[in-house]
């Protein structure tokens, strides 16, 4: 019975406008986001630039953070991204003095020395006019360097103080501190990166991660529209009475429906992955190796399917509970919060975010370091989806027996009976 019902649900979806809309959205998303991705080529020596990467070297992190703090202090505006949106913060006199103390500690200068250097620097700043606009130019570099006596832990302490003074989303909080250290790649580093993509990822792994990164965003929200539509379909067609009275168990009905939604959302993603797979196969062929043909299947299953399952299960549960569009509201909030939480960690900052990001083609070593974190993340969401499904089956069974009334409260009659 399960398989027949599953097939019928899939067939129903495949004939729906919503499904065709979904196909159009994913195709459009792929073409606009990944369609123009260049095939990675082996770096040649002597090039001007090999791209950038985020350094994990503590010294580099400290120096770049220090440079940023000095720059922002001199211009009097601190760039922050609270909730992911830009906000320039100007500190009052009291807070500015506290920032000055932090810089003095970091540079090992006395208050007098620090003020003198800053004043000299500010006097040296000149303005140039061009085409009616005025531009600020630096006359001489700022002669302030990080003290050699500062340890990384002490540095982190000062950064925490600065972050508190400036507010959420500054460059000195935990979230953004390491992403300050964006440094150019050397030829050797670029070559190492390329070799890892070739040997460890066989190109297809790198493409699959980027593919999952993009589609993880879409699949963090789209399933909720499908499940809400399914719940509302039962409600608006007045089919509940007749469906509830059938002998199929709630577990069969719910799991078949959920599996159908997950399948019709997941299969097109898998099919579409043949396009980037072909790119990976081409890149691998060019490098004289064979791509991993199953890479997309493995990554999509492990990375994207748990997202689909979790969003479907939560949406379905809330949908059956409220029989309205409430799940969409909840999911939009969750999705938006997940996206914003990742703004500073677009490459490998997985944590327990619904939408794991890895917005880079390559960087195998960065992925390898945070791979366990991704695995745990996905396990948590898979388990959560299964638990929610079990709760949903129970809820649906209660609804079929009339124990739950429409707005989700347990009926008083049932409470009375339970107490007796």
């Amino acid at each position: 019975m399960w398989l027949t019902l599953f097939r019928k649900e899939c067939k129903m979806w495949c004939k729906s406008i919503m499904f065709f809309g979904y196909l159009a959205v994913i195709l459009f998303f792929y073409l606009t986001q990944m369609g123009s991705e260049d095939v990675p080529a082996k770096p040649e020596p002597g090039k001007e630039s090999y791209g950038y990467h985020y350094s994990t070297d503590e010294k580099v992190i400290m120096e770049t953070a220090m440079d940023n703090l000095l720059y922002e202090y001199c211009y009097g505006v601190y760039v922050t991204y609270p909730m992911g949106f830009y906000k320039g913060v100007r500190l009052n006199k009291e807070k500015t003095e506290k920032i000055e103390v932090i810089i003095e500690k970091l540079t090992g200068k006395t208050d007098e020395e620090f003020k003198k250097i800053i004043n000299d620097y500010k006097r040296g700043v000149k303005y140039e006019s061009s085409g009616g606009a005025s531009y600020q130019t630096e006359a001489a570099p700022l002669d302030l360097k990080l003290s050699k006596d500062i340890t990384y832990d002490e540095f982190l302490g000062y950064m925490e103080q600065a972050a508190k003074l400036i507010g959420n989303g500054s460059k000195y909080g935990d979230t953004y501190l390491k992403s300050n250290a964006r440094v150019p790649l050397t030829y050797e580093e670029a070559l190492h990166e390329y070799n890892q993509m070739k040997e460890k990822d066989r190109f297809s792994g790198a493409y699959a991660r980027l593919y999952c990164d993009y589609f993880g965003i879409l699949l963090g929200i789209i399933p909720v529209f499908f499940v809400t539509s399914r719940v509302l379909k039962d409600k608006h067609s007045h089919a509940k009475g007749v469906l509830y009275g059938k002998s199929a168990s709630s577990a069969v009905i719910i799991t078949a429906r959920m599996a159908a939604i997950c399948t019709i959302l997941f299969l097109p993603i898998l099919l579409l992955s043949l396009l980037p797979l072909s790119q990976a196969v081409y890149a691998a062929g060019k490098a004289g190796i064979t791509a991993d043909y199953l890479a997309f299947l493995k990554y999509c299953t492990g990375w994207l399917l748990p997202s689909i399952m979790a969003v479907t299960a939560l949406g379905y549960f809330l949908g059956e509970l409220t029989e309205g569009v409430f799940p969409i509201l909840i999911q939009v909030i969750w999705w938006f919060a997940s996206l914003l939480a990742n703004v500073s960690q677009m490459i490998g900052g997985f944590g327990y975010n619904l939408i794991p990001r890895f917005n880079s083609l390559g960087e195998y070593s960065v992925f390898y370091k945070s791979r366990d974190s991704l695995v745990w993340n996905r396990i948590v969401y898979t388990v959560a989806a299964l638990v929610l499904t079990a709760a949903l089956v129970y809820l649906y069974e209660c609804k079929r027996k009339g124990i739950y009334i429409k707005n989700g409260k347990v009926s008083k009659a049932h409470i009375r009976k339970s107490k007796a």
Binding site: H238, K412, K417
Partner: protein, 296 residues
Amino acid sequence: MNQEIILKNVSKYYGKKKAVDGINLTISEGMFGLLGRNGAGKTTLMKILATLHNPTEGEISVNGINIRETKKIRSMTGYLPQDFSMYGGMTAYEVMDYLGTLSGMKKEERKKRIPELLDKVNLSANHRTKVRAMSGGMRRRLGIAQAILHNPQILIVDEPTAGLDPEERVRFRNLLCEIAQDRIVLLSTHIVGDIEATCEDIAVLDNGKLLFRGTVRELIEMAEGKVYTAEISRMELEELKAKHIVTAILSKGSMAEVRFLSEEGTPFEKAVLTEPSAEDAYLYLMGREGGKAVCG
């Protein structure tokens, strides 16, 4: 096996409201009518029997199986809800196939039964018609076909003829009578004519309580000697209505031929004692002071 539904002291509360109040009833094979005004508790009782509501108190057994064994009960029950409908985009055949699957029917069984039943309810020519394009009557017929698809021993039909035109209603009643062979068909309605035309055994509910249990003949006997007709002027009509329950009025210019109930013997000279109909008897029962229970 003897087919029987036994209800013992069944009650159902919605919060503090008692929708069904201590019903004791035995229903045997054949057509059984459940009559009562809107809000009498008929639909609640039907839903309890279809396992869509749990009784708050009391015991119910269906062919010897406790009502709380929902899976078994559902597999032996067909249910046509009051407002039957299905997904608008499905065709008649697809509805039957989908609901047959939910009833656990195998593919071959569905393939054999669906055309048979669509033919039986006169929907063969419309097997590709989408639900959203069906008339009310077609939907009800589709509803009855899906309810008997898995050949249930019990068929529960809630207000099936409400909103149907007279021709469709007669056709539907005849269909129910055909189906009632070798099974229990429980028909709930507030239309006395439907019950009179189809059911031998009936029960009347009011305010969740069982007012009457017996045959249609017994119900009619209760009103014997209490139904009168008279031709009166329209001026006298209001006075008559104030004193008696008027069951029918036929206007004849400035006069009116009325049919009314009277407990006191011949109420006035022009009144003629007449044979009661089921509708007269039902109204007599409902109008009795306090609605005393009369259970045969």
